[in-house]
């Protein structure tokens, strides 16, 4: 072949000498996002530990004082208790209802399986306000009118949280070897015992993930609780909302921070438990 000149290299290109390198867009966006996420909560935090109303530069506390926390202590504890009184039964109910569904979807073949898989996600997709509206009618004027608001709220929370419990369990069950259950059966165990002794221990981390997700969803819930609640129930989001709306901003900030701490704390504990439980 006749030797030809190689094509010239693309000349080093820069779109405008004063623009920063293209690749800076990515860390810049990330940094911007991080600032956007953490600065507002810092404002709240400062508000809650400030000893007076004004903040330095609008964001830093002028002087530290926990007076607000002391004052709102009972209110905080009360809202935590109310939230827990709803969240714990929600978690339990989600587990009891959701686990069989996950099992059926992964292990069994039956007509309607595809439809069920879609229905599992329905509560996630459905607008919460419409759901809350329907529930409100159901429990205020409909057939369940006499039911205690606590029960109503737990049921409402459960229905929206079920997908969060079911999805991780499905993923975990798909990873477990089917043969394990069959082996237990062949050794004489009944179906329930086989499942509980061989499969359940193995999927505990995913169950804990589901628990964490359901818990987070329940204590954050606003719409459903708001529409089904009575004045005596004051979950954390409701308490925060009412505090801010009634003008006691600093109190609201205190309750908000306490709520955050509590929520993040519980979830972190659960996450750690998930990691620890992986003993195999």
């Amino acid at each position: 072949m006749v030797p030809e000149k190689a094509a010239p290299l693309p000349a080093p290109r820069r779109a405008g000498g004063f623009l920063p390198p293209f690749r800076w867009i990515f860390p810049a966006t990330t940094l911007g996002l991080i600032l956007f996420i953490i600065l507002p909560p810092i404002t709240l935090l400062s508000l809650s530990v400030n000893d007076r109303f004004d903040l330095v530069w609008g964001i830093f506390p002028a002087g530290i004082s926990f007076e607000l926390y002391r004052d709102s202590g009972p209110a905080i504890l009360r809202s935590v208790a109310d939230s827990m009184r709803i969240a714990v039964p929600t978690v339990l109910l989600s587990f009891l209802v959701g686990l069989p569904v996950a099992y059926a979807l992964v292990r069994l073949k039956f007509p309607g399986r595809g439809l069920l898989a879609e229905l599992v996600n329905l509560p996630l997709v459905f607008p919460p306000i419409v759901l809350a509206f329907g529930l409100m009618q159901l429990f205020k004027q409909g057939p369940f009118a006499g039911v205690s608001p606590w029960v109503a709220i737990v049921l409402g929370h459960t229905i929206v949280s079920l997908p969060f419990m079911i999805q991780p369990i499905i993923a975990a069950l798909q990873r477990v070897d089917i043969a394990v259950e069959d082996a237990a059966r062949s050794l004489g165990a009944g179906p329930l015992r086989a499942f509980v002794t061989t499969v359940l221990p193995v999927i505990v981390p995913s169950v804990l993930t589901g628990v964490a997700l359901v818990f987070a969803r329940s204590i954050s819930d606003f719409e459903i609780t708001l529409l089904l609640t009575t004045p005596e129930i004051s979950t954390m989001p409701i308490a925060i909302y009412q505090a801010f709306e009634s003008g006691s901003t600093r109190l609201g900030a205190a309750v908000a921070m306490a709520t955050n701490l509590f929520a993040v704390g519980v979830i972190v504990i659960l996450e750690v438990a998930v990691r620890r439980v992986r003993w195999w």
């Binding site: 072949m1 030797p3 030809e4 000149k5 190689a6 094509a7 290299l9 693309p10 080093p12």
Partner: protein, 359 residues
């Protein structure tokens, strides 16, 4: 086809944390040469190749391409064609678009791009597949597209990172020769990385054997095979007998090595008396004669018993136990006189084939 460029790697060093991956490597590649980096995984060959291509910078040292210092240039300014182990074909583009990619970036006129793409696809035999997408192609076809894409830009240097390792054995053998022929036709300086020493010897002008970040030997396939510079090379390339021993006497061109099997003569590798060495001797360089038969007095000789004989068609493999448990592997070509299991034989070899290598 291109201005063939020479590549000069000068004292390149690279560490990852406390792990020294490249230890002061210096290599000169001739223009138009097919050079192979050969070595086990972890020896640094891929790191070095990627560094030449611009993916990763040395901690110290320089890389010069056709006299230009490219050490700190980003990959898109180095004029190196790179063929990746996973081919890295753009899945959303047709074969034609893949091959034309580099040409479009260089803003060549459309007619020229079309003609070059056609030429290059013709060279790898894939003209009929120009409008297919990568996932519609077999592994071997994808590999050829990757090569076509890299050479379409007429780079000064062609770099290939174990391009054949994902192919099955038969395909590998066929493509390696096509690759060699193509390279000769184009005359591009090429660097090829592999851990398969048979492949390296089949296609290369010269081979660089690397181990743990160091260059063990640079030489032609014949030199690497027949005249290993170090124990590692002797052991890594091909099958070799390795007999441990101590240098008794180092005079002139040969050394006398005291081994468990007795005194053995070997060619010199700067050995000194008293050094611990391994005697490397290729199985096919050992000839067998029935014990007692007279052979030429020059060269090494050892008597032993045949403990294994395996007829493999093109060759017969023997294992001969000489003194003190030392076993020599022997490969006798088809047609040579067979020796029965248990028979006494005399192994003899030319001195130049035995190498005393520092242990």
């Amino acid at each position: 086809m291109v201005n063939a460029s020479d590549l000069s790697i000068q004292s390149v060093t690279k560490s990852f944390g406390s792990n020294v991956v490249l230890n002061g490597i210096s290599i000169d590649v001739e223009p138009g040469e097919f050079m192979t980096f050969l070595g086990p995984s972890g020896c640094g060959k891929t790191t070095l190749l990627r560094m030449i291509g611009g993916f990763g910078e040395p901690d110290s040292g320089r890389i010069m391409l056709a006299g230009r210092d490219i050490t700190h240039l980003p990959p898109n300014q180095r004029d190196c064609g790179f063929v990746f182990q996973s081919y890295a074909l753009f899945p959303h583009m047709t074969v034609r678009a893949n091959v034309a990619y580099g040409l479009k970036l260089r803003k060549l006129p459309a007619a020229e791009i079309e003609s070059r793409v056609a030429t290059v696809l013709g060279m790898v035999g894939l003209e009929a597949f120009a409008d297919r997408h990568p996932k519609q192609l077999s592994g071997g076809q994808q590999q050829r597209v990757a090569i076509a894409r890299a050479i379409a830009i007429r780079p000064s240097l062609l770099l290939m990172d174990e391009p054949l390792s994902n192919l099955d054995a038969k395909l590998r053998e066929r493509i390696r020769f096509e690759l060699r022929a193509l390279q000769k036709q184009l005359g591009i300086t090429t660097i090829f990385v592999t851990h398969d020493q048979e492949e390296a010897m089949a296609v290369s002008d010269r081979i660089i054997v690397m181990n743990k970040g160091n260059v063990e030997q640079i030489g032609t396939p014949a030199q690497i095979y027949g005249d290993p510079a170090s124990l590692f090379v002797a052991d890594f390339v091909g099958v070799n007998n390795l007999v441990p021993g101590t240098v008794r006497q180092a005079t002139g061109a040969t050394v006398m090595v005291e081994t468990a099997a007795g005194l053995m003569e070997a060619s010199h590798h700067d050995s000194r008396a008293g050094e611990n060495v391994q005697l490397a001797l290729r199985p096919e360089m050992i000839s067998l004669a029935p014990a007692g038969q007279a052979v030429a007095a020059t060269g090494g000789q050892l008597e032993g018993t045949v403990t294994m004989a395996a007829f493999l068609g093109a060759a017969t493999r023997y294992e001969v136990e000489v003194q003190n448990g030392v076993v020599l592997k022997v490969a006798a070509p088809a047609g040579s006189r067979p020796h029965a299991l248990g028979s006494r034989v005399l192994c003899h070899w030319p001195v130049e084939s035995a190498h005393a290598l520092r242990a």
